[in-house]
Symmetry: C2
Subunit: 160 residues, 2 copies
């Protein structure tokens, strides 16, 4: 992660692309969301979705993976430059998570973020708080997931 | 699921209890949230969490599993009574997800829900919309996760 002082509102980036396979959709669903339209092609065809589609929690969890990998890559770049690396802070949660379209087998979702806002933390002066708009967009350009997350960032000179 | 007409605001229930093991925490994290404090005891001890703890997405995904299992059990009871079974409708998303406390190895989380509100859907007249308050509480009685979900429910006499 960057320090709080090094991030600006408006900063944005694509963090990764993922193609959802039937195998991955069923594997996640078998563990965490065993509804018929996430597990079985024929049952899904008869459902309101019309075809096998991913659990919304799967779509969201893939975002988390890309965000962690993105931060690790960014840390690597900073380490090569000899810059300080600070760990990601705790996340207090997110707001307004919307599953806007189903994610079907074969759909490729592009995940991206934009920093919407940042402010010092009142309760934890060694951290700053960042508000991020996160999106996943399918290969047709349709938004399939969006949510607003908040994250703590260490401040320069703090012991965080 | 019940029909929209058969659910009342204020209805609440415990849907399940889950004890987070180090193995389950690491398995989820390896796939979806590979941060050191979710993967490695020693690194976690040095982090702001102080010990290995579950990914927030893991805590949330276990809720989903219990909610699906709970609905399936309820469907079984209704089927035995000869009552109609209607599938769960699509979920448009969540609001205000808060990870309030870390979930450490050995913590047992009790998940519960309460129906906060219900109203007919304007855009989809065959469905009603239900707002649900969801919580996860640890063995010390501390809230570790809370969020507000919305879900579509089929209306009696609809083709949903």
């Amino acid at each position: 992660m960057k320090f709080y002082e090094d991030i600006a509102a408006g900063e944005k980036a694509e963090i990764g692309r993922y193609t959802f396979t039937a195998e991955a959709i069923k594997k996640f669903a078998a563990r965490f969301d065993p509804q018929a339209f996430h597990l079985d092609e024929e049952a899904a065809a008869r459902s309101h979705f019309g075809a096998l589609c991913a659990s919304g929690w799967h779509t969201a969890s893939v975002w988390m993976r890309f965000m962690v990998d993105y931060q690790h890559r960014e840390d690597g770049v900073r380490a090569q430059r000899g810059e300080a690396i600070v760990p990601m802070g705790p996340s207090p949660g997110f707001r307004e998570l919307k599953w806007l379209k189903p994610v079907y087998v074969g759909d490729t979702i592009t995940y991206a973020y934009e920093v919407l806002d940042k402010r010092p933390s009142v309760s934890r002066p060694e951290w700053g708080l960042m508000t991020i708009g996160n999106t996943g967009t399918n290969q047709k350009g349709e938004l399939v997931i969006s949510f607003v997350s908040t994250a703590f960032l260490a401040r320069r000179g703090s012991a965080a």
